[in-house]
């Protein structure tokens, strides 16, 4: 799977958790999920579960610690789907 393919599946997952005052256009590959997109940190675990379902993979606790930006998510998914 290319990074672009992963991103196109990942973007709608992230969009679900955006606060009402953050637009979908603000998501880019460098975005920090909690600091820039203002996603409630409690929702990071929900994003992970949704990614697991969408890509049929499973994250470990230390993977989750590494997840800060959209790009982190893309790289983690890439590793797991190799």
């Amino acid at each position: 799977m290319t990074s672009e393919e992963i991103y196109s599946q990942l973007q709608p997952i992230i969009t679900t958790y955006l606060p009402e005052d953050v637009s979908i256009n603000e998501i880019n590959i460098e975005s920090d999920l909690t600091r820039e997109l203002n996603i409630n940190s409690a929702h990071l675990v929900d994003i992970i579960l949704d990614i697991e379902d969408a890509f049929n993979i499973e994250f470990k606790n230390d993977d989750i610690e590494k997840l800060r930006t959209v790009n982190d998510a893309v790289s983690l998914i890439k590793q797991k789907t190799l």
Partner: protein, 423 residues
């Protein structure tokens, strides 16, 4: 000097009507919210009837976002949020804006018996399946006792005390009295109070097992013998939520708010599970004492009470309750106040019973009517020998009311009684 406290907003999610106007029409016409549930039959319940509010998808979205509704599976918390937000709106108060400070003078006390039992079941299955990591982020918020007050606190931006109380079927009445104290003592200007109860088999099952719910009317859900009836042999379990916005009289007058009623005072006590009281049965002396203490706290005499909104559950305890009211007020026969019970229409809404019934009591006081006691005939002979039948109206009665009493009693031998006055 204690501050005077009034009610300026109401909200209700009841099996026979969601929203104050629908609910008002329902109680005036004696509309039943009791239904047969095939699910309860399939689960081998003795009582296959229940009272469950109908909440439209549109109503849910009035207060909750798509994200908040995602994996939302806690009926009691949903009912509480809707009733609470409706009460705030009815009082014409606005939530704090996202970029503003919290409303430091607005607090919340919203009680429940157990909370989010469906969500808890979902979590238990995952945990037992060694899949705790799949619970997601909302399992705690949707199962905690303070779930309703926490959701409401965020939606409103409440900055005063935000908490939850729990005293079984007295929860809603106790919540109101706790909010009253907070305002009377000058610690808050507004208190949003109420109580909620989940719907469904997991909350109703324990009562079914105790045989306190009725098994006789599964084929005729609209004809269940109501409270005070000679035929009553158990309640129908219900669910829902009721809410009231309490405010200092001073503040309500200043902003020219609609005042439904003044809370003159009340009392909460416990029978200590002594003197005939137990986990499940009340100590009659404690009930009488609670009513008398409420009158004393409200600084009124028993003769001033025009109407009683009873706890009256449609069980064998109804005649005892009437006797306790009669002894506490020292009034009987034709001198006894009007009395009714909402449970004939909506069932026993358990932790939500007190709050839904308080909303019904306030509406009667404010608009000057007494809703009908449904399926109450023939009246239990012991009740008929204590108070005149004309005080137990079977039809809608339009009559001005000035001072009224509401009491709730619950498991654990808890009692709560509150006195309202029209101003």
């Amino acid at each position: 000097m204690k501050k005077r406290v009034v009610i300026t907003g109401l909200g209700v999610v009841s099996p026979n009507g969601v929203g104050v106007s629908e609910f008002t029409e329902a109680i005036k016409s004696g509309k039943s919210g009791i239904r047969f549930f095939p699910e309860l039959r399939d689960l081998n319940f003795s009582c296959q009837l229940g009272g469950m509010p109908f909440v439209s998808e549109e109503k849910k979205r009035e207060y909750l976002s798509e994200l908040q509704l995602r994996n939302f599976n806690s009926s009691g918390i949903l009912y509480g949020i809707i009733a609470g937000m409706d009460a705030l709106k009815d009082a014409q108060l606005q939530p704090a804006k996202n970029d503003e400070e919290p409303l430091w003078d607005l607090g919340i006390i919203f009680g429940s018996g157990t909370s989010g039992v469906e969500k808890f079941r979902e979590a238990i299955y995952k945990i037992d399946d060694k899949n705790v990591r799949r619970l997601g982020s909302n399992s705690v918020a949707q199962t905690m006792t303070s779930g309703v007050s926490a959701y409401l606190g965020g939606l409103i931006g409440a900055g005063n005390m935000v908490t939850a109380n729990s005293s079984a079927c007295a929860t809603g009445t106790e919540a109101l009295l706790m909010g009253y104290d907070q305002i009377a003592n000058g610690k808050a200007t507004y208190m949003l109070c109420g109580s909620t109860s989940d719907s469904g088999p997991y909350i109703w099952g324990g009562f079914d097992a105790m045989k306190v719910s009725t098994y006789k009317y599964n084929d005729s859900p609209k004809e269940v013998a109501g409270p005070m009836s000679a035929e009553a042999n158990g309640f129908v379990p219900g669910s829902g939520a009721g809410a009231y916005l309490l405010e200092s009289l001073e503040s309500a007058q200043k902003r020219n708010a609609t005042i439904y009623a003044e809370i003159l005072g009340g009392a909460v006590n416990n029978g200590g599970q002594r003197g005939g009281g137990s986990m499940t049965a009340p100590n009659g002396v404690a009930i009488q004492k609670c009513i008398k203490n409420a009158l004393q706290n409200a600084n009124i005499s028993a003769s001033e009470i025009d109407y009683i909104n009873g706890h009256l559950t449609a069980t064998l305890k109804d005649p005892d309750e009437i006797e306790n009211w009669s002894l506490a007020l020292d009034r009987k026969g034709a001198d006894f106040p009007y009395i009714n019970s909402l449970k004939g229409m909506v069932g026993h809404c358990l932790a939500a019973s007190g709050s839904i019934e308080i909303v019904s009591a306030i509406l009667q006081l404010h608009q000057g009517f007494i809703f009908p006691n449904v399926y109450c005939e023939p009246v239990h002979p012991k009740i008929a020998s204590t108070i005149s039948l004309e005080k137990i109206s079977m039809k809608l009665l339009k009559t001005p009311l000035q001072t009224i009493a509401k009491a709730s009693f619950g498991f654990g031998d808890v009692n709560a009684c509150v006195i309202f006055k029209k101003i």
